[in-house]
């Protein structure tokens, strides 16, 4: 009776899985796909800007409309559909292992979170095929996002992000509860690895930031689909309201992304410097402080909106305050590697290169936080350079460090180090070539969000150089993809390939579905390192060997998300004129929308009514696996 529950194989296994490790891989696959799509969009942007407007007045590659669409989708895709899922993938793959848990708190919701994200992302990208792509910038400022100035593309934006946002919120709650309730015996809060700490704080920020976005997107949809007046000035609405709602979500979002990146760096550096993390408790404190301050600074995106000097000054000072905890972190990282026995693996190369790169992004951030200076920088390429230094130089470099570091644990195969180093040098040099010069382009007066520019303004060479850099970055990404493909046949990963310090390295690679045969007893920070220093090969178990309870796989999360996806289309096209009378009546009478919501609610009903008793892996099976 060990497996009295139905086991699925192949595609069905992936659709029904509630195993956090497999969901982590799903997040990686989907996030990687969207990362490539967003990257192609970035290349098209750079290609378009490679040359100024021709003498004949013709743009050489893209029209202004197409450029706006590509620029909007690049930003939206990279933030919501690439960076977020890759971070959630890492959190899924690593956090339960680091705290010594067999699973996350809500395996079913974990699966639901993935599928809502995925269907939201697919819905957004279907706009490429219907020809109505969002063209309003990733910030979707009103009134541009209203019916007066934009078409169905804005509906794709509002509803796609709405569905994807549900998944993020659900995931955030899941990790909060997992970390609070499911730590192994002895794993106190102040013994948790830094990546777990940063995931914890990030989940807290998600919980308090994403509902604001949800409401804002509902307002856009209500304005567009049901003729409401939230952002319509003519009927008493207020377009600045959207800016506030968007940025009170949007600025915490930046820290949602960067904190787990900080956490990953704080894991990679000690491992490859063979020293414990310098200033662990100050790192925890700095993380929590950044999480708190992230909600206090949103209006620094709106200095030029006209809020007044007092508001600008306050938000400027609050923004500069964030440099303090961030500075604490930077110095702690430097002291961690100082005097260490450093091994420059690919992961370590990415991690060390992150430090100076991110500091540059931070310094321009403080420059932008000074309102009088911001009036000069605003809407110029200086801003573009700043946030790409933070997001690519900060998040992407550290995500790549994390990918090379944890890949063996996730997939049980090693990535090739030679190819890894090639990818690093291509990506790293390409990155600085692309974006360093953009600081100067901004200072020389080039505005952002323009699809072309006149020649001989002193911008031609700099734009050309920037585009060359983008191709170096693309080459780096291609090398990474090749590395991933050949790793399928690559050498099998040992349990502890890097001489790691935390619990995830004490179990086999890839980890078994129950993670820990016996829950480990944690005796201090860097739990596994402590045991190794005592001459032991594995963790001391905290419990006798016993049957392990596992949750059953379920198809319901997939269908719940599919229902929302269908309902999204129903709402989007309710006022649209189709050629066929039948389709017109289906959409016009909200039949499609109601059908979609009905699918979701029936799935919720089934989930509530039928209890999942799960199944047990018996002791004999555990012993057979060795």
């Amino acid at each position: 009776m060990a497996h009295s529950v139905k086991k699925y194989r192949g595609l069905m296994d992936w659709i029904t899985t509630v195993d956090h490790k497999k969901i982590g891989i799903l997040y990686f696959a989907a996030g990687g796909l969207f990362f490539v799509i967003g990257g192609i969009e970035a290349l098209l942007i750079r290609l378009q800007l490679m040359f100024p407007l021709g003498a004949d007045g013709e743009s050489w590659l893209l029209s202004g409309q197409t450029y706006n669409e590509i620029m909007t989708m690049h930003g939206t895709t990279m933030i919501f559909l690439a960076a977020m899922p890759l971070i959630f993938g890492l959190m899924n793959a690593v956090v339960p292992l680091q705290i010594g848990a067999r699973d996350v708190a809500f395996p079913f919701l974990n699966s639901l979170g993935f599928w809502t994200f995925f269907f939201g992302g697919v819905l957004l990208n279907i706009s490429w095929f219907t020809g109505t792509v969002p063209d309003i910038g990733w910030t979707a400022y009103a009134p541009l996002s209203g019916t007066e100035f934009s078409g169905t593309g804005s509906d794709y934006y509002a509803i796609g992000l709405q569905i994807a946002g549900i998944g993020t919120l659900v995931g955030g709650i899941n990790f909060l509860v997992t970390i609070i309730n499911m730590r192994a015996p002895g794993m106190t809060f102040m013994r948790m690895p830094l990546f777990t700490w940063t995931s914890f704080i990030t989940s807290g920020i998600i919980l308090f930031a994403f509902p604001a976005l949800a409401v804002g997107l509902i307002y856009i949809s209500f304005d567009r689909l049901f003729d409401a007046n939230f952002f319509v000035t003519a009927t008493g609405g207020n377009s600045v309201l959207w800016e506030h709602i968007f940025w009170i979500f949007g600025h915490p979002e930046v820290y949602i992304l960067i904190l787990p990146a900080f956490g990953a760096i704080s894991e990679v550096l000690p491992t490859f410097a063979r020293k414990r993390l310098f200033g662990y408790s100050s790192m925890v404190f700095a993380t929590a402080l950044i999480g708190f301050l992230s909600f206090m600074v949103w209006a620094h995106h709106m200095f030029t909106t006209g809020m007044g000097d007092i508001a600008n000054a306050l938000f400027g000072v609050a923004t500069m305050l964030i440099a303090i905890p961030t500075g604490i972190k930077v110095f702690n990282w430097l002291f961690t590697i100082w005097g260490g026995k450093i091994r420059f693996t690919t992961a370590m190369l990415y991690a060390t290169s992150f430090i100076p790169t991110f500091v540059m992004g931070g310094v321009t951030g403080v420059m932008l936080a000074i309102p009088p200076a911001d009036f000069q920088f605003h809407d110029s390429y200086f801003v573009v350079a700043h946030f790409h230094y933070v997001i690519v130089g900060g998040i992407v470099l550290s995500l790549l460090a994390a990918v090379f570091y944890w890949w063996p644990k996730m997939f049980g195969r090693m990535l090739n180090e030679t190819l890894g180093k090639w990818s690093f040098w291509l990506f790293f040099s390409g990155f600085h070539l692309t974006f360093f010069i953009q600081h100067f382009l901004g200072l020389w007066g080039m505005p952002r969000r323009v699809f072309t520019y006149l020649p001989n303004q002193g911008w031609d060479t700099a734009n050309f150089v920037s585009t060359i850099g983008a191709f170096f970055m693309a080459a780096g990404v291609i090398v990474i993809l090749i590395n991933v493909i050949i790793s399928i046949k690559g050498p099998k990963a040992p349990a502890d390939p890097w001489d790691g310090r935390t619990l995830e390295w004490s179990i086999p690679s890839p980890s078994p579905e129950y993670n820990f045969k016996q829950l480990p007893l944690v005796r201090g920070l860097d739990a596994f390192w402590l045991e190794k220093m005592d001459g032991k090969k594995e963790m001391t178990p905290a419990e006798p060997l016993g049957p392990i309870h596992m949750p059953s796989p379920s198809i319901l999360p997939f269908f719940m998300s599919l229902g929302l996806f269908i309902a999204g289309f129903g709402f989007m096209y309710r006022g649209y004129e189709f050629d066929s009378a039948l389709i017109n009546s289906l959409f016009g009478n909200d039949i499609i929308a109601i059908l979609g919501l009905a699918i979701t609610f029936v799935c919720m009903f089934l989930r509530s009514v039928y209890d999942d008793h799960g199944y047990h892996i018996e002791v004999e099976e555990l012993q057979k696996e060795g």
Binding site: F208, P211, I218, A228, N229, T235, G237, F605, V609
Partner: protein, 205 residues
């Protein structure tokens, strides 16, 4: 002693927190309510920002009938009390009283909804539709979102009563009852703010 009663005797004193799944569910739901607070906070902030933009439509002072709203408030606050009685009955392992009190809670919630639908119908008649002005849009968004929460709660607790009937009280159904009562308190608290900010402040202009 019947089989079901013997089973109840074995149930621990706080069955909602007896298992890890139960504790996870309760904690997760508290956190979810934290997110809901931000959601309603945004709706309130929007309403406060836009409530002066009435255009040609009626103002809150002209519209609101405090007697009706006070009745609705009384009904909803009472339902919060009856949901406490339900959880008390659960802790005393009295499944019959638990189901009765949950039933009373559902009935009161339903009564509140009837009053609210009547109220909205009346407003639309007075020329205060969803699309009339920024004030009306933000009013219906805030109060309507709350009403949708009440409607969902009525369906949810109704479903729980049926589950209690079929499955009885155990460590799976107990956390469901507990979080449903948390949810019900939360929508009550939100209503207290709606009553103050929308109706009382609306009445003084």
């Amino acid at each position: 002693m019947s089989h079901a009663e013997a089973h109840l005797d074995k149930l621990p004193p706080e069955p909602e927190k007896a298992t890890l799944e139960g504790r996870n569910k309760v904690l997760g739901f508290w956190l979810f309510l934290g997110g809901e607070t931000v959601l309603f906070g945004t709706l309130f902030a929007t309403f406060l920002a836009l409530r002066g933009s009435v255009l040609d439509g009626p103002t809150g002072t002209e519209l609101f009938d405090l007697k009706l709203v006070a009745a609705a408030t009384f009904i909803l606050l009472t339902s919060s009390l009856t949901s406490v009685f339900a959880v008390q009955a659960m802790h005393h392992k009295n499944v019959k009283n638990l189901m009765i009190w949950l039933g009373v809670t559902v009935l009161l919630g339903f009564g509140f909804l009837v009053l609210e639908i009547y109220e909205f119908y009346h407003y639309v008649h007075e020329g205060h539709g969803f699309t009339t002005s920024a004030f009306s849009s933000s009013f219906y968004a805030l109060v309507g979102f709350h009403g949708a929460h009440v409607a969902l709660g009525v369906l949810w607790i109704g479903l729980l009563i049926i589950q209690l009937k079929v499955k009885g009280l155990n460590t799976t159904t107990a956390p469901k009852v507990y979080v449903a009562s948390l949810y019900w308190h939360f929508i009550d608290v939100v209503w207290v703010f709606i009553f103050t900010i929308v109706y009382l402040m609306g009445k003084v202009g």
